[in-house]
Homo-oligomer: 422 residues x 2
């Protein structure tokens, strides 16, 4: 840690020098003292000697055959059926801020309906001047916006809040994904319908067999809510609500109703099943917090993690993801001693509103046990809480909205273990 | 056009009112005068009555079965073999600024090699203090950046420059795609190796059977060049250079060498096959422009296009894509009369450096023949040229770097035809 670059910039010539103990030594060609104009000892591999596969070998391409381990996974014991279940995105193999559509996490309450887009309709009705009906083609003929936003399930980390200590990043944090969304601002559709005076809440209902429905305030609808039909440039995936879904940027996943078929305008929330019996936060007083939409700022270290231990002592780049449902990520700090000391990390890519943001920091590991943590501050000044702080606030019966600081215990062996401290 | 919103903002209540002739009338529920608290006439479809498919039905997801037409395509007659060929991305069905990896255009010179990442190495050698060798894992332990950039083949529009008038957007403009890339700034790797005084050019060589190699100036390497290993959050696709490729943001596709195995540092360009015999621009004087790397600013209207004609008279949203290899898109103008009059379009999403940028503009179509064009201006002030201006500059033998204004002839039937005017 003594070698950590104080200016918080990637060190320019330090990576090999600082890594004599570890893996980076392998970078140095054996002939460092040889004539420098000679070609380094790089043999010609078999694949350079034969013609490769042809263009449009796959009209819709697939990942490399060497990346077959990078898939969504689920926990069979966690849900009663696969139709009312979640799959987790492989954050341990995720390098960006855009989740490939094939790896976007899933959470369904009655499975994925197979909806014919030519038959699907969205109705806006209730306290409006003119009830309206929209097909997918209708939506495409409205002005659109393109925005990058994450979606996180309110239950991301739900088992951790109850001390489960699952020992894989994919399962502790994998209910979050991100995409570039294309759709129509909901306020444009509502303006066409004409929202009546006194209206304050909306109900969004999906066309799945659960008829999943959630209430949300009109203010959000008139702010940044979208009815989206495309993700990452192509039409929505079936698992993500094909052919249209509600997008409430920064708000808990379930409120972003998929397979959207109906928006009703009214005066007060509807008190549906998934906002009363579930998706509420039981406090120590016995009262439950309700309509807690915002996914507050959160971060996690993804390199190293239980799936990918540290292979060598010496110079490391520690990496992770940070996000906030209230705006942009402002800064991320990293601790190597369980939260006693913090150092500011670099943000390595675009810092967009309500989007995943990547961070990294250089660290020289001396090979001893360490407690790795990351802590995000968003542009509102909100600071990600520790698990202790979160429990002080919400008690131990609250399940959803676990945005607490994650601790990875790095063993001298290089293995990484999910622990709860403090 | 008379109804075009002068403030260049999406009109708020005008879409239905302006569309009495056309498709938007269909938006209005039949019971506009009915009691507004009654539910609009939306029947319950079959898919809402049965349990859907389960979570991780596809561990690596696929597009909806209703989107099977959205695939890369190639022109069998355009290339001698499928191994030395291109496939085109379906821009007509593209809604964003991020191309899904499965739809990213391809251009290979000896097919796609199947490279075992555990065996692949990159060597940096030549005029350096220390020749170095890097595995994929080595690269991942360097500081990284995440950036969204397009890649466009120098030959995008090559047949149009020769008056072919292919009548599908996928084939006139489909040799461009875009992704979020993750990788290491090349300057970090070069700094480790120590570039010697007098070095001015680099050679990048691929591990495909073509051994495709291109020269590029050191200045670009020290500016924004990257060695990337991930695209859109997952490891590079095989067609895109798995497990590592060179990224020279904004420069012609072929210079972004895939399956990168060797970077040599030297004093002058190497004059390789693909920068002498091909990928040069023959001028009327008989001389050829060489090392013309930059993909200059270009745009195209994607809605409507030959694949998707206009269905109805009345209110339309005209959409398209704009980009520049020299920086950000500053503005896009659209003409409906073949370039006599221009109106400024809205930019509907993120405006990132050397990235695809979406534009759209409202238009009231009276049903008469029209000539639709778009014209981009980038942040350097460069204005996209007409085909006539481009030919005046480069003559008729120049094939690559066709960034001229595209003209779509909109017939009274609604059909869209690729034409060359002026």
């Amino acid at each position: 840690m003594s070698r950590h670059n104080k200016k918080n910039e990637p060190s320019r010539r330090g990576f090999i020098r600082n890594s004599l103990i570890g893996g980076f030594a392998a970078l140095v060609g054996r002939s460092a003292s040889a004539k420098t104009d000679a070609i380094a000892p790089l043999s010609v591999p078999s694949w350079s000697k034969e013609l490769g596969s042809g263009t449009v070998n796959e009209p819709y391409g697939k990942p490399s055959v060497f990346e077959k381990h990078v898939v969504r996974r689920f926990l069979p014991w966690m849900f009663p059926t696969r139709q009312a279940a979640a799959s987790f995105t492989p954050l341990q193999d995720f390098h960006g801020i855009i989740t490939p559509n094939g790896l976007f996490f899933e959470r369904h309450h009655a499975g994925v309906p197979k909806i014919d887009p030519a038959e699907h309709k969205l109705v806006i009705h209730g306290m409006v001047d003119k009830p309206l009906m929209f097909t997918v083609d209708d939506l495409k003929r409205f002005p659109c916006v393109n925005r990058v936003h994450f979606i996180e399930c309110a239950g991301n980390g739900v088992l951790e809040q109850r001390s489960a200590q699952l020992n894989l990043l994919q399962f502790t944090h994998g209910l979050i994904s991100s995409a570039e969304w294309t759709g129509v601002p909901l306020k444009l559709l509502l303006n066409e319908a004409g929202v009546r005076k006194g209206a304050k809440w909306l109900l969004a209902e999906g066309a799945d067999a659960a008829g999943l429905a959630r209430s949300f305030p009109l203010d959000k609808a008139l702010d940044d809510a979208l009815v989206v039909y495309a993700q990452n440039g192509e039409m929505l995936r079936a698992e993500q609500g094909y052919p249209m879904r509600l997008l409430l940027p920064g708000w808990e996943g379930i409120a972003n109703v998929k397979w959207l078929r109906r928006i009703e305008v009214g005066e007060r929330p509807w008190e549906m099943r998934e906002e009363t019996a579930t998706y509420t936060d039981l406090l120590p007083s016995g009262k439950a917090r309700q309509y807690t939409f915002i996914q507050e700022a959160k971060s996690v270290i993804t390199t190293p993690c239980p799936e990918y231990p540290v292979l060598n002592k010496g110079q490391q780049v520690i990496r992770g993801l940070a996000w906030s449902g209230e705006g942009k990520v402002k800064r991320v700090d990293v601790s190597f001693d369980g939260g006693r000391n913090w150092q500011q990390a670099r943000l390595t890519g675009p810092q967009l509103d309500k989007s995943l943001t990547r961070f990294e920091i250089d660290w020289f590991w001396n090979g001893q046990e360490a407690l790795l943590q990351s802590r995000v501050v968003d542009e509102t000044g909100y600071v990600q809480p520790s698990l202790k702080e979160l429990r002080a606030l919400r008690g131990v019966n609250s399940m959803y909205h676990n945005n607490s600081i994650q601790t990875w215990l790095l063993h001298p062996s290089g293995e990484v273990e999910n622990v709860q401290i403090g």
